[in-house]
């Protein structure tokens, strides 16, 4: 298993190029699919190298676009769709929910819709109310869709390949800031079974659930806490839909404490399902479960306004303190070390830590 340290964007590119090689029926579709910006460089050169045989440039018409992708996919084409921001997909909810999500069900499995819809999500540089949402909870509430959320560059490649070769429609949510991160990535093409959770660190004190950019922060914190002999079972909640709770329940049965972080609003966020699943399964916790996430208002543009908007490393540490009843003294020490280890940077640019390598 040879790995190379590459950028998240290159991991995506790897997945795309290797999928092209692997399956003749795979192609890309999207607004600007052949343009020089190439989705943060993730599909760079595809159009030049393969031309129209692998890329279909689209008018700016998202519902039609997804409809066309579904129609092609019904015939066994695998289609990768690129949309620069999750909000553009709102035009296409009709096709996504009525057709993509239900074609297999209605046809009793005769129709497959092997499309992947890459959507860029999340915060950054004043994107504002209509360019900064993530909506993973909404997609996860629709039976028939798969929702995949990579965090590490390794995930990006592995999960994108697995999504492309999955016969179901997959919503693939890429956080804008992850594009700058680096990490060791498997060179070879490999299809792995997608599952809801991936264990990142092993520990029996507390289950910490996060995904996407929040997972990177959670990872830093898990590593920091290990020094203080606080061991977290850190789970990457990388496929919220369909939701298989095995790994989660196993973890919580062990730790009996949980903190769960949402990318989106706390209200009706993924953590609400996690907490409910735990109680559905009658698992007694030692302390109340804690969820972190965005307050219930749109994403403001100004950095002044987002000051308390996103869950920070400090918020996560406080939640863990509360769940574990960490003493004030110890907590101050931990927080101190955390603050020292992180650089003071503006709130609207990615923490250098997020760049990896992981």
């Amino acid at each position: 298993m040879s790995k190379t340290e590459i950028l998240f964007t290159d991991a995506i590119k790897d997945a795309v190029y290797q999928s092209i090689k692997k399956d003749k029926k795979f192609f890309l579709m999207g607004e600007g699919v052949s343009d020089p910006s190439s989705m943060w460089g993730t599909i760079k050169g595809v159009s030049k190298k393969f031309g129209k045989s692998k890329t279909v440039e689209m008018p700016v018409a998202e519902n039609g676009l997804i409809g066309v992708a579904i129609g092609s996919a019904l015939n066994g084409s695998k289609v990768l769709i690129n949309l620069q921001r999750v909000e553009f997909a709102l035009y296409a909810f009709e096709q996504i929910i009525n057709n993509a999500a239900k074609a297999s069900y209605i046809s009793r499995g005769k129709h497959n819709v092997p499309i992947v819809i890459r959507l860029v999500i999340g915060r950054g540089w004043g994107q504002g109310p209509e360019h900064g949402q993530s909506l993973e909870n909404i997609f996860s509430a629709i039976p028939g869709l798969k929702v995949v959320i990579p965090a590490f560059p390794e995930d990006a490649k592995e999960m994108l390949i697995s999504s492309i070769f999955d016969p179901n429609p997959v919503i693939f949510l890429e956080h804008r800031w992850l594009h700058y991160s680096k990490g060791k990535v498997e060179n070879k093409f490999k299809i792995k079974k997608l599952s809801s959770f991936k264990k990142i660190t092993n520990g029996s004190d507390l289950t910490l659930v996060a995904n996407s950019i929040n997972l990177l922060e959670a990872f830093r914190i898990a590593k920091l806490l290990r020094k203080y002999r606080i061991r977290l079972d850190l789970l990457n909640f990388c496929m919220p839909n369909p939701f298989d709770n095995n790994l989660l329940l196993k973890s919580v049965r062990k730790t009996r404490r949980i903190v769960s972080i949402d990318l989106s609003h706390k209200t009706l966020g993924l953590s609400s399902e996690i907490i409910s699943t735990i109680s559905d399964n009658k698992i007694k916790l030692k302390t109340f479960p804690i969820r972190l996430g965005l307050p219930f208002h749109p994403v403001p543009s100004s950095r002044g306004l987002v000051k308390n908007f996103y869950p920070s490393g400090k918020n996560i540490l406080i939640a863990i303190r509360d769940a574990l009843n960490i003493s004030d003294k110890l907590f101050r020490k931990i927080l101190n070390e955390y603050n020292k280890s992180t650089k003071k940077i503006p709130i609207d640019v990615p923490d250098p830590y997020f760049k990896g390598p992981f």
Binding site: P59, G64, L65, G67, G71, I106, S107, G109
Partner: protein, 319 residues
């Protein structure tokens, strides 16, 4: 069009009409427990065009899909079982009357959300074009479907990529109870086709010979040149929008207009054609009888078929 062709068209027309009449007649027994949108009055739009298609050509439909399904050769048994909500329904009872499909026969999907199947159909045509296949795609749409933006999105795409797709528009001048006049400027849809430089033809959707002959050459043209085509077929729905009855007492449409179209009944028209062509009336009666027998048999099957098991309800959410 020779006599054999005409007879074969008549069989299709009569099958559709008779099945729909039987649904209408038996609906009140309360065993077909789903909404039904009958095609009575609009049969020639389905039969005339679809009879010119090959088995491998693909048809997509909407909520009013019975006629398209039957004209494309879809299994009547499976259709009725579906409407009865039974195990042997074409989609096992999950869909009901508005989701008919028969993949073996090339009726790929019917979607009851207005215009929703246009995207899929256009994607299917893209697939055909990319594979350099010789198939064509037909998407049936009502007059109201021309009001949804996705129609224009797809027309643009089909024109831009020169796809072998036929937009087969059945203009019955109504969306539920609402007159076309209250929804669009006028009833000539050429303007929409022109916006994308798509070839256009307007046909009398009540006349099986006109639809059949004209669409034959259109389909050949599309197949050969791989270009989209828009066909407007003016027609009329004889029954209520949804359900088994007639609702003209609600006075949402002009009784004169209703009478005008009833006189143009596609079945009667086809009969006249056969008469003119001296096709033996006895023969026609025999054809009808045979169809009626067949239809009764399939109705009986559907009535007696089992309900699907609730355990199947959770299957196939994912492949």
């Amino acid at each position: 069009m020779n006599n054999l062709e005409l007879i074969s068209l008549y069989k299709s027309l009569y099958l559709i009409r008779h099945v729909e009449e039987m649904i209408s007649k038996n609906y009140s027994k309360g065993q077909m427990r789903c909404p039904v949108h009958l095609s009575i009055g609009q049969e020639a739009c389905a039969t005339g065009l679809i009879s010119n298609l090959k088995l491998t050509d693909k048809v997509f439909s909407n909520h009013r899909c019975h006629a398209h399904y039957l004209a494309k050769g879809g299994s009547l048994k499976k259709m009725l079982c579906e409407i009865y909500g039974k195990k042997n329904g074409c989609v096992g009872g999950v869909g009901g009357s508005m989701h008919l499909q028969d993949l073996d026969k090339g009726l790929v999907a019917s979607i009851p959300i207005v215009s929703s199947s246009i995207g899929m159909a256009t994607g299917n045509a893209l697939y055909q074009k990319r594979r350099k296949s010789n198939e064509v795609t037909v998407i049936y749409l009502g007059d109201a479907a021309l009001e949804e933006g996705i129609f224009f999105e797809c027309a643009n795409f089909a024109a831009l990529h020169s796809l072998p797709i036929i937009f087969a528009c059945e203009n019955n001048m109504f969306s539920v109870y609402t007159n076309l006049k209250d929804r669009q400027l006028d009833s000539n849809f050429k303007k929409y086709a022109d916006a994308y430089n798509i070839s256009y033809k307007r046909l009398d959707g009540s006349k099986i010979d006109e639809v059949y002959k004209k669409t034959k050459s259109i389909i050949n043209f599309v197949r050969k040149n791989k270009v989209p085509y828009f066909i407007q077929m003016d027609t009329y729905r004889f029954k209520e929008h949804c359900g088994p009855a007639v609702d003209d007492h609600l006075e949402y449409r002009d009784q004169k207009e209703v009478n005008y179209w009833k006189k143009k009944c596609p079945i009667e028209y086809a009969k006249k054609l056969m008469k003119r062509k001296k096709i033996n009336e006895k023969k026609v009666e025999t054809i009808q009888k045979n169809i009626e027998k067949f239809v009764i048999k399939e109705f009986k099957f559907a009535e007696k078929d089992k309900l699907p098991s609730y355990k199947d309800a959770e299957r196939f959410v994912y492949v």
